[in-house]
């Protein structure tokens, strides 16, 4: 899946850490040089509530063809969560929209935290 013609989502791995927390690994490939450092927004939705795990990625340093692995650990109360992520500039609201359907983010499926 292509984000704004600048990054390609390659896949994700969901695993459990040794202390029982859920870890998400995201794999992205840079397909066009970016001038700004985009923020990766990561949403975990449950029963109408959204928990966000945002962090800035050094996307301006990514080179075309670069494959980047980003990992985050979800520190969440128990529940079944819908996960999704995308890239945006929080400073001015610009987003890297999905090229295939114009959506702002990519769904990563569900995860159950007990």
């Amino acid at each position: 899946m292509n984000l704004g013609g600048k990054a390609e989502f390659l896949g994700r791995v969901i695993s459990q850490t040794t202390d029982g927390q859920i870890q998400i690994e995201l794999y992205l490939r840079c397909i066009k040089r970016m001038e700004d450092d985009y923020t990766l927004w990561f949403h975990a939705d449950v029963e109408g509530r959204t928990t966000t795990f945002d962090h800035v990625l050094p996307t301006s340093e990514w080179r075309v063809g670069h494959i980047v692995q980003d990992a985050l650990v979800l520190d969440l109360p128990p529940g079944r969560y819908d996960l999704s992520f995308g890239l945006w500039m929080w400073q001015d609201g610009r987003r890297l929209w999905r090229v295939d359907n114009g959506e702002p983010g990519i769904p990563l499926g569900q995860v159950e935290i007990r």
Binding site: L10, G11, R12, V13, E25, Y27, R29, R63, G65, H66, I67
Partner: protein
């Protein structure tokens, strides 16, 4: 003309009719002597011996497979290395119907004969004396370079290292430039530019040296004309000539220049190919390098250089001085870069310094004949000074003949003295042995299987050493090569990291992570060597080829994420 013909011995008349002199034949004969030792070292080989050649084989194979100027290792990338020699080999491979690795292993013995022949031609044109050229060619073939690896020394080599072959273009371009300057006609500068462009398509180092010589000579000429008047026609003419040379060189070099300047914008992400340092050129070994070069041939060349410098208005002296200055300058830049890297300062690498040492050795050979003649003249004058009664015995013509006989005898003696080490040099022996064993039989069979059962777009996860020797020579893509053989405009370190990570995932049975990276790098096959074990379960792999020490697995496509 008739007078010259009258002086020519009858046996040499057929040569004279072709514009040749006996010395030309002697130079050719000496080249054949070198070939006589080079040919048996390579004539029956199927694989080349050296890493550098395994960098070049895939380029030729990719061209043959219709990939043009594509990076032979990484999908979607462009060729980063000078394409001329691989293009010649691709053509020869098609003509001969032989596999590219075999042609790369064998063709050097023949093609590299161009280097001493062009060297002879250039020295003869520069010094306007074919006997000096013959003496220098003897030094070039047998004396100046004794033991270093072929690519470190300008001489005849049976191995098709880019540097060894493309030196022919350097000598030819320099000779053309001197001729153009002598004739002083604009149209003579066009072939100089064309040859310079061709030299660049062959190798960057000779083009850099030649370009610098031409530019510096133009500046020097311009400055000289500025002494007289700011609007000197000579200044205008120098700029026009430089424009002709530059325009023609850029036009010929355009296919390769377009890639590195326009596509990659010289944005180097992997400095390893240009920052590689020949051990003898490391700062620590500087004194050892100087000591190793305190040799008799170098001393003779030094005498030649000093005598030339005494002719400051001489064009050839000026060109050869620029040759020296440019090579020393680039070698100095190499030392400066090493120093800067150690002090954590920004470093700009051009091409490895070894190539400039190479052309410095070529200059030594070029000056050898002239220096030897200067020494002979000095000795004769000294003898005449000691024995005044000999004055009357040496009229001009006789003295010239004595000098020339002494020159050829001494040059032959030097060649004979060096003949033993020449014959025993690693290029004819140890390197041949390496060529015979570098690719084990199981790997050769893997090469054949890959050629027959996979397509040029297929990607392989392979250990970098196997990727360099088998997968890319077979014209297939890999995840990573060692940085020194990898595209400098691609982040080789990150590819290498993922190469390692994918093997770790496979050993751990982590098909999920493997599949993501395998898909990203378009991996269709996985190679294991030396009986490396992969986890037996949970992997999307199926063995499709196995032989001694190597197994190839196909990646099951349905298991890759879509």
């Amino acid at each position: 003309m008739n007078e010259a013909r009258a002086q020519t011995p009858r046996w040499a008349l057929p040569l004279a009719r072709l514009g040749l002199q006996p010395w030309d034949l002697a130079a050719l004969l000496m080249c054949l002597v070198a070939f006589w030792h080079g040919w048996p070292a390579t004539c029956d080989l199927a694989w080349p011996p050296d890493f550098d050649l395994y960098r070049d084989v895939p380029i030729a194979q990719t061209m043959l497979d219709g990939g043009g100027l594509a990076d032979p290792a990484y999908p979607g990338e462009r060729l980063w290395y000078n394409p001329l020699v691989p293009a010649i080999i691709a053509g020869l491979s098609r003509l001969a119907g032989q596999p590219v690795p075999a042609v790369y292993a064998r063709a050097g013995a023949y093609l590299n004969l161009l280097a001493p022949l062009c060297f002879y031609l250039a020295v003869a044109l520069l010094f306007k004396d074919r006997l000096i050229a013959l003496a220098s060619t003897l030094a070039f073939l047998f004396v100046t370079c004794q033991h270093p690896p072929s690519r470190a020394c300008a001489a005849y080599s049976p191995w098709l290292f880019t540097a060894n072959f493309t030196q022919a273009g350097f000598y030819l371009t320099l000779a053309l430039y001197e001729r153009a300057l002598r004739r002083s006609r604009r149209r003579d500068f066009l072939p100089v530019g064309l040859a310079l462009g061709l030299a660049f398509l062959g190798h960057t180092a000779p083009a850099l040296i030649l370009g610098s010589i031409v530019a510096l000579h133009t500046v020097w000429t311009a400055l000289r004309s500025l002494d007289r008047t700011l609007s000197s026609p000579q200044l205008h003419e120098s700029i026009v000539r430089l424009g002709i040379i530059t325009g023609a060189a850029l036009a010929v070099g355009a296919p390769y220049l377009r890639i590195i300047l326009c596509h990659y914008r010289l944005d180097i992400l992997n400095p390893a190919p240009s920052s590689w340092i020949f051990s003898r050129l490391e700062i620590e070994n500087f004194l050892a390098l100087v000591r190793a070069n305190l040799s008799l041939p170098n001393l003779v060349a030094l005498v030649g250089g000093i005598v030339l410098l005494a002719r400051p208005r001489d064009r050839v002296a000026h060109l050869l001085t620029l040759w020296l200055i440019v090579c020393l300058g680039f070698i100095g830049l190499g030392y400066g870069s090493q120093l800067a890297a150690r002090l954590d300062l920004p470093v700009f690498y051009v091409v490895p310094s070894i190539h400039f040492l190479f052309y410095l050795k070529a200059l030594v050979s070029a000056l050898f004949g002239y220096g030897l003649l200067a020494l002979i003249r000095f000795v004769l004058e000294f003898v005449k000074y000691l024995l005044p009664r000999l004055h009357g015995c040496f009229p001009g013509l006789l003295q010239t003949r004595v000098e020339r006989v002494a020159l050829i005898l001494l040059a032959l003696a030097a060649a004979l003295w060096s003949y033993g080490p020449f014959v025993r040099q690693p290029a004819f022996n140890a390197v041949r042995e390496r060529a015979q064993t570098v690719v084990p039989p199981g790997w050769r069979n893997a090469y054949t299987w890959i050629r027959e059962h996979t397509s040029p777009s297929d990607g392989f996860l392979a250990p970098p050493y196997f990727g360099l020797h088998i997968v890319t020579p077979a014209g297939r893509k890999v995840v990573a090569l060692k940085p020194v053989f990898s595209n400098p405009f691609i982040d080789a370190a990150s590819r290498l990291e993922h190469n390692v990570a994918m093997y770790e995932y496979l050993q751990a049975g982590d098909g999920e992570r493997f599949a993501i990276l395998a898909s990203a790098y378009e991996v269709r096959y996985v190679v294991t060597i030396d009986n490396a074990q992969l986890a037996a379960h949970n992997l999307p792999l199926e063995p499709v080829f196995t032989d001694t020490g190597v197994t190839v697995y196909a990646v099951s496509r349905p298991l890759l994420p879509t």
